[in-house]
C-alpha cells in the first residue's frame, strides 16, 4: 500500500479523534487524551513518510480530487510546501498534546479541551492539504472557529469570552477580504470559461487558477479612478485574509488578547500553526503574487512594519505571555517580509519564509510551553513578581535559554554554526538587503535590523527578569513533571540544531515546489507580468552586512544584561507613567481605545445600528399611517348613516333622479 494513497488519513484521523473524544472523552482517563495523541502520532508518521518520499522524487506530488457540488471539488495536494508544513504541524501538535497531559491535568473540562485541539489539528491539516482555494477557505474558517473555542476555553471568565469574540471578529474582517478575493477570482474564471466549465476541470483548483493567471492579469478594474489589474486586487484581498489570520498590522489586535486561553493553546495555535496559515496562503498562491504588480511590495513593507511595530510593544510588557504574543506578531512580520522579497529573488522567497516558519514554530512553541511550565508552577503571569526561577526549575530555564538564543538569532555568520533562528532570520535579513540593492528601497532592511535589535532585547529582558537574579516575591514552585519537560527538551534540541542541519536542503526543496507534475509553473516567467526585476542571489554582501544581524542581537543581549541582569541603570524613571513614550507603548498605541471603544462600539454599534432601528421604525410608521388612513376614511363615511328615514328617502330620490338624467344623456350621446 503506497503511502501516498493514505494521505487523506492525515486530516481524517484527528477529525475522528475529535468525534470520539467529544462523545466519550469524559469516561476515559485524562479526558480521553490518548485518542488524539494516537491519531496525531499516526498522522505524523504518515506525513514524515510522504515527505521523505517527496525528498527523493520532488516532482511527483500526491493529488486526489472528488466532486463536491456544482463546479467545485474537494481534494488533496501534497507537494514539498505542503509536506514540510504537514510534518511540522503534526510533530508540534503531538508534542503539545503530550505536554497538555500534565498541564491540563487539574482541569475539569479536559475532554472538551482535547476534543477541540484534535479538531483544530484536523482543520489545520486539511488547510495545508487543500488542492483548491475554496477548500483552503473552508478549513481556514474551521481553524478560526477552533481558535474561538479554545481561546474562550474557560468561558466562565468574562475576559476570556471577550477575547475569543474579539479574535473571531478581527479575523473575520480578514476572512471577508479573503472571500471577496475568491468571489472575484471565481467570477473571472467563470467569464474566461464563458460559463461552460468542461467536465473534470474544477474551477478554483490551483492548477486551473495558475494556468489562467495571464488572462486574469489582463482584466482591469476601475477603482476610484485607478486602473487596477484583477490579479493585484485578488492577491491583495488574499493578503488581507492573511493579515487577519497571521496578526499583521492592523488586524493584529486579537493576538495579545488571545493569551486568555490556556498556554498550550497559545503554543499550538498562536505560535506554531494557525497564525502561520496566513503565511501558508501567500506561499501557496505565490505564482499569483508574482504576476501581480505591487502586491509583493506591499507584503514586504507591511511585514517589515509589523515586525518593528510589534517589537516596540514587546519590550515594555510585564506579562510573560504578552511579550511572547508580540514576539509572535513580530516574527510573522518577518515571514511576510520573507515572502515579499520574492519581488527580487523569485521562488526562493517561499523557501526562506517557510524555513523561518518551521524554525519559529519550534522555538516559539518552546517559549510558550516554558512560560506555561513557569506559570503552572508559580501561579502568576507577572514578570515583576518573579526572578530567580532558574534555581527552582533548571530544565525549564535551560530550554528557555535555548529558545531565546534561537529567537535572537545567535550564530556565526558564514559558517554552519548557529541556532535555527540564526539561519532562518539571517536569510530573510540578507535577502532584504538584496531587495534594497535591487529596488533601491531600504526601508524593509532597516526595519528588519531594528526589529532584530528589539527582539533580542525583549527576549533577554524576559529571561533575566524571570529566571535570574533574586526572587522578588515568595512564589513557591517546583519543576514540572516529565510529561511536560520531555517535549520541552525535544523542542530545545530542534531549536538549536534543526536550522544548521537542514538549511541548504530545505530551501531548495521548498523553493522548487511549483515545478512538479500537477502545477507546473515557471515563476520567473510570471515575474515579467508583475513587473518585478529578479536578481541573482548573491552571497557577496560586505562583511559588515553579513555580521550586522549578529551584532544587533548581541547588542540587545548586552543591553538586557546590563539593565536587567546587573541592574546598572535604574529603570524606574524610564518606566514611569510620566514618560510619554513609555505610556504610548504600554498602552499599545491606544489601539484598544481606537478600534474597540471608538470604532466598534460608538461608530458601528451605536451609530449605524441605531440609525437602522430608526429607519425601521419609520417603515412601521408608514404601515401604521396607511392603516390609520383607512380607519379614518371609514370613520368619516360613517357619518352618512344618520338613522333618520327621511335622509335615506332623500338620498334614494336624488340618486334615482341622477340615474334617470344620466341614462337619458348617455342615450342621447350614443
Amino acid at each position: 500500500m503506497a503511502v501516498e494513497n493514505l494521505a487523506f488519513l492525515i486530516p481524517l484521523l484527528p477529525a475522528l479523534a475529535f468525534v470520539l473524544t467529544f462523545f466519550f472523552g469524559k469516561k476515559l482517563p485524562s479526558g480521553g487524551a490518548i485518542i488524539p495523541i494516537a491519531a496525531i502520532a499516526t498522522s505524523f508518521v504518515l506525513s514524515l513518510l510522504i515527505t521523505l518520499r517527496l525528498l527523493a522524487n520532488p516532482g511527483e506530488v500526491v493529488t486526489q480530487s472528488y466532486n463536491w457540488f456544482a463546479m467545485f471539488n474537494i481534494g488533496i495536494l501534497v507537494d514539498p510546501l505542503a509536506a514540510v508544513m504537514l510534518t511540522m504541524v503534526t510533530f508540534v501538535s503531538l508534542l503539545i498534546h503530550i505536554y497538555s497531559l500534565g498541564y491540563m491535568s487539574h482541569d475539569k473540562a479536559q475532554s472538551r479541551y482535547f476534543a477541540e485541539t484534535a479538531f483544530f489539528t484536523a482543520s489545520m491539516l486539511g488547510l495545508i492539504l487543500s488542492d483548491n482555494i475554496l477548500q483552503l477557505f473552508v478549513c481556514w474558517e474551521l481553524v478560526g472557529v477552533c481558535s474561538y473555542l479554545l481561546i474562550g476555553f474557560w468561558f466562565h471568565k468574562p475576559s476570556a469570552a471577550t477575547a475569543a469574540k474579539k479574535a473571531f471578529l478581527t479575523t473575520r474582517i480578514g476572512d471577508v477580504m479573503f472571500l471577496a478575493g475568491i468571489v472575484i477570482l471565481f467570477s473571472d474564471l467563470f467569464k474566461i470559461f464563458n460559463g461552460a466549465v468542461p467536465d473534470g476541470v474544477y474551477i478554483l483548483r490551483f492548477d486551473t487558477i495558475f494556468v489562467h493567471i495571464p488572462e486574469i492579469a489582463a482584466i482591469n478594474a476601475n477603482i476610484f479612478g485607478m486602473e487596477v489589474s484583477h490579479i493585484t486586487l485578488i492577491t491583495l484581498l488574499f493578503f488581507g485574509g492573511a493579515v487577519g489570520k497571521s496578526g499583521q498590522f492592523p488586524l493584529h489586535v486579537w493576538l495579545p488578547d488571545a493569551m486568555e486561553g490556556p498556554t498550550t493553546v497559545s503554543a499550538l495555535i498562536h505560535a506554531a500553526t494557525m497564525v502561520t496559515a496566513g503565511v501558508y496562503l501567500v506561499a501557496r498562491t505565490f505564482p499569483m503574487f508574482m504576476a501581480a504588480p505591487s502586491s509583493l511590495m506591499i507584503v514586504a513593507y507591511l511585514g517589515a512594519f509589523t515586525a518593528i511595530f510589534a517589537a516596540t510593544m514587546g519590550i515594555v510588557m510585564n506579562d510573560l505571555k504578552r511579550v511572547l504574543a508580540y514576539s509572535t506578531i513580530s516574527q510573522l512580520g518577518y515571514m511576510m517580509l520573507g515572502l515579499g522579497v520574492g519581488a527580487t529573488i523569485g521562488a526562493e522567497a517561499v523557501g526562506i519564509s517557510l524555513f523561518h516558519l518551521v524554525n519559529h514554530a519550534f522555538f516559539k512553541a518552546l517559549l510558550f510551553l516554558c512560560a506555561g511550565s513557569v506559570i503552572h508552577a508559580v501561579g502568576t503571569h507577572d514578570m515583576r513578581q518573579l526572578g530567580g526561577v532558574a534555581k527552582v526549575m533548571p530544565i525549564t530555564a535551560a530550554t528557555m535559554l535555548a529558545a531565546s538564543l534561537a529567537l535572537a538569532g545567535i550564530g556565526i555568520p558564514g559558517t554552519s554554526i548557529g541556532t535555527s533562528g540564526f539561519f532562518s532570520k539571517d536569510a530573510i535579513i540578507e535577502n532584504a538587503y538584496l531587495f534594497g540593492e535591487t529596488t533601491g528601497s531600504w526601508i524593509p532592511y532597516a526595519l528588519s535590523i531594528a526589529a532584530a535589535l528589539l527582539t533580542s532585547l525583549y527576549i533577554f529582558r524576559l529571561l533575566f527578569m524571570t529566571f535570574y537574579g533574586k526572587p522578588r516575591t515568595d512564589y513557591g514552585g517546583h519543576e514540572s513533571p516529565a510529561s511536560m519537560t520531555v517535549p520541552l527538551s525535544i523542542l530545545a534540541l530542534l531549536a538549536l540544531f534543526f536550522g544548521g542541519l537542514t538549511s541548504k536542503t530545505f530551501n531548495t526543496f521548498v523553493s522548487d515546489t511549483f515545478v512538479n507534475n500537477f502545477v507546473n509553473m515557471d515563476i520567473s516567467a510570471l515575474a515579467s507580468l508583475g513587473g518585478y526585476q529578479l536578481a541573482e542571489h548573491a552571497g557577496h554582501e560586505p562583511m559588515l552586512i553579513l555580521w550586522m544581524p549578529l551584532i544587533v542581537a548581541v547588542a540587545g543581549f548586552l543591553i538586557a544584561f546590563l539593565v536587567y541582569g546587573l541592574k546598572i541603570v535604574n529603570m524606574d524613571r524610564l518606566v514611569s507613567r510620566n514618560n510619554p513614550i513609555y505610556k504610548l507603548l504600554y498602552n499599545r498605541y491606544y489601539q484598544n481605545s481606537i478600534f474597540t471603544n471608538f470604532f466598534s462600539v460608538k461608530v458601528i454599534y451605536e451609530g449605524f445600528a441605531f440609525a437602522g432601528r430608526a429607519i425601521d421604525r419609520g417603515f412601521d410608521w408608514i404601515v401604521s399611517w396607511f392603516a390609520d388612513l383607512i380607519l379614518e376614511t371609514g370613520e368619516s363615511l360613517r357619518q352618512f348613516q344618520t338613522g333618520a328615514v327621511q335622509n335615506y328617502a332623500t338620498v334614494v330620490i336624488a340618486g334615482v333622479s341622477l340615474l334617470v338624467i344620466l341614462i337619458t344623456v348617455v342615450m342621447e350621446v350614443l
Binding site: T642, G643, A644, V645, Q646, T650
Partner: protein, 100 residues
Amino acid sequence: MIPIVAYLALSAVIFSIGLYGLMTQRSGIRILMCVELMLNAANLNLVAFSSYNGDLTGQVFALFSIALAACEAAIGFAILMSIYRMKDTINLDTINILRW
C-alpha cells in the same frame, strides 16, 4: 277638450308638493299623507293618458294603484301607532336608532 298638458302639469305639481312634503315634514302622519299625494298624482297621470289614447290599461293600472295605496296607508299608520306607543311621539326626526 282640455289639452293633456294641463293634466300632466297638474299631476307634476301635485307630485312635487308630495315629494317636498315627504322630504321636509317631521310628523309621521304628514309624511304618509304626502305619500298618498304622490300616489294619486301618478294615478292622475295614468288616467289622463288612458283617456287620451283610448287605451283602458291605464285606468286598470290606476285602480290597482288605489288599492295598493290603501293597503300601504293602513300598514303605515299601524307602524306609526306602534312607534307612538313606544316613543310617545311621532316626530320622525327623533327616531334614529340605526344611526352609525
